[in-house]
Amino acid sequence: MFKKFNIKEDIATRSLVKSSVQRNIRSKILDQYNKLETVIDEVLPKKSSLYLVKCHEHINLLTVNNEILFFQHFDGLYYPTLRLLHKYPDAFPKVQVDKGAIKKILSGANIMCPGLTSKGARMNEDLPANTIVGVFAEGKEHALAIGLTKMSTEDIKNINKDIGVENIHYLNDPLWKSNIET
C-alpha cells in the first residue's frame, strides 16, 4: 500500500479531531484490538490532541504528538504502524515467518504460504481471513511488517500455496521513513 508514498506531497488535509469523534475512533480501535484495552490511555491519552491526516489514495493517518499511530484505507480497519507494534508487540495477533522470507518482505513482497508453514515459521493462534497481523521473523525480536491475512490460518496450512498474508506496511517503506511535523 505504501510502496509509492511521499508524506510531503501526499498529505491533503490535516485536522484536529473533535473529542466526540476521537471517542468514536478509540472505541473502534478497542473493538478491533481488545488486548489494547489496558494501555489505550497510554497509546491515545484522553487529553492528547489527535490529528487526522488525510492523504491521497484514501489513506488516513492518526497521529498524536507528531507520531503516526494508526492508519486506515477508506473506512476500513485501523492498522497500527510498526513503531506502535514494536512498543506493544503482544497487543496484536502475530505470525512468524522463516529466515529466508525476511529479505523479500523487507523489499515489499507479499507473504506466501510456504513462508508461514516451514520449519522456522510459526502460527500460534487460529486466525480468520482478513485479520491484521504483526509479522515476526525467525530469530528476531521485533516485527518486520504488518500484514492482512488473505486466508485463515487453517487454510494457509492446508492449501500451502499462493499469498497467505498481504504485506501492508514493512520496515523501511516510505511510511516507516516518514515523520509528520507541525
Binding site: V39, R83, D90, L106
Partner: protein, 194 residues
C-alpha cells in the same frame, strides 16, 4: 493440590508496559535488521558506539559465522552478485551524500525599486529543509514577508522582502548546522534590466 491449581494464575499476556525499542541511528531500523540494509558497516560502527552490549549480542556470534561464510564465499563466486548489489546500493548512498555536500545555496539580492530590494534564496531544498517552514521562520525572524516561489526553471525558492542577505547568511548557518559554510554563496547584486 487442587487449591494450588486454582490459584495458579493463567499466564496473562502482559501488554501493559510499552517496550523500549532501540532504532539504529544510521538506517532507522531495529538493529537486528541492519544486515538487510545497504549500510551494514556504518550501522555496526554506530551500534558499537552507542549500545555496545547490544552489539556484542548481535554480532559476536554472527561475526564468526559471517567470517566463515566469507571464507566459503571466496571459493564460491556464485553469491557474488548479491554482494555486488549491496556495494552498488552503498555507493549510491555515498554519491547522494556527496551530491548534497556539493550543492550550493545561493542568496541573491535583487533590486526592486530604487531603494527597495528583495532577497532570494535557492538551493535550500538540497539539504532536506522544508521550504515552507523555512520561509515562515525567515518571515518571523526578519519581520518581513517571505514566501516560497517557483522560479522560471520550475524550482522552488524563497523570496524574502527586504535586503536581509547578510543576516540570512548567519541565520542559515545557525539554524541548520549541517549546512557547510562554504556552500552558501552570496551574490551581492543582480543588475536589473534598465
Amino acid at each position: 493440590m487442587s487449591e494450588q491449581d486454582i490459584s495458579t494464575p493463567i499466564p496473562a499476556v502482559s501488554v501493559s508496559i510499552a517496550k523500549q525499542v532501540i532504532y539504529c541511528g544510521v538506517c532507522s531500523l531495529p538493529p537486528e535488521y541492519c544486515e538487510y540494509g545497504a549500510t551494514l558497516n556504518k550501522c555496526k560502527e554506530w551500534l558499537r558506539e552507542k549500545h555496545s552490549d547490544l552489539f556484542d549480542n548481535l554480532y559476536s556470534q554472527t561475526n564468526l559465522e559471517s567470517d566463515m561464510i566469507n571464507l566459503s564465499l571466496e571459493k564460491k563466486p556464485a553469491n557474488d552478485a548479491e554482494d555486488k548489489k549491496k556495494a552498488k546500493e552503498a555507493a549510491k548512498i555515498e554519491r547522494e551524500m556527496q551530491k548534497k555536500m556539493a550543492s550550493k545555496i545561493t542568496i541573491t539580492r535583487i533590486a526592486r525599486n530604487k531603494r527597495k530590494s528583495v532577497t532570494n534564496v535557492c538551493g535550500l531544498q538540497n539539504f532536506d529543509i522544508d521550504l515552507k517552514k523555512a520561509a515562515k521562520s525567515f518571515a518571523s525572524k526578519f519581520a518581513c514577508g517571505s514566501s516560497v516561489v517557483k522560479n522560471n526553471q520550475g524550482n522552488d525558492e524563497i523570496v524574502i522582502q527586504g535586503d536581509v542577505s547578510d543576516d540570512l547568511y548567519d541565520y542559515i548557518l545557525e539554524t541548520w548546522p549541517d549546512v557547510p559554510e562554504d556552500n552558501i554563496e552570496l551574490v551581492e547584486e543582480k543588475k536589473s534590466k534598465k
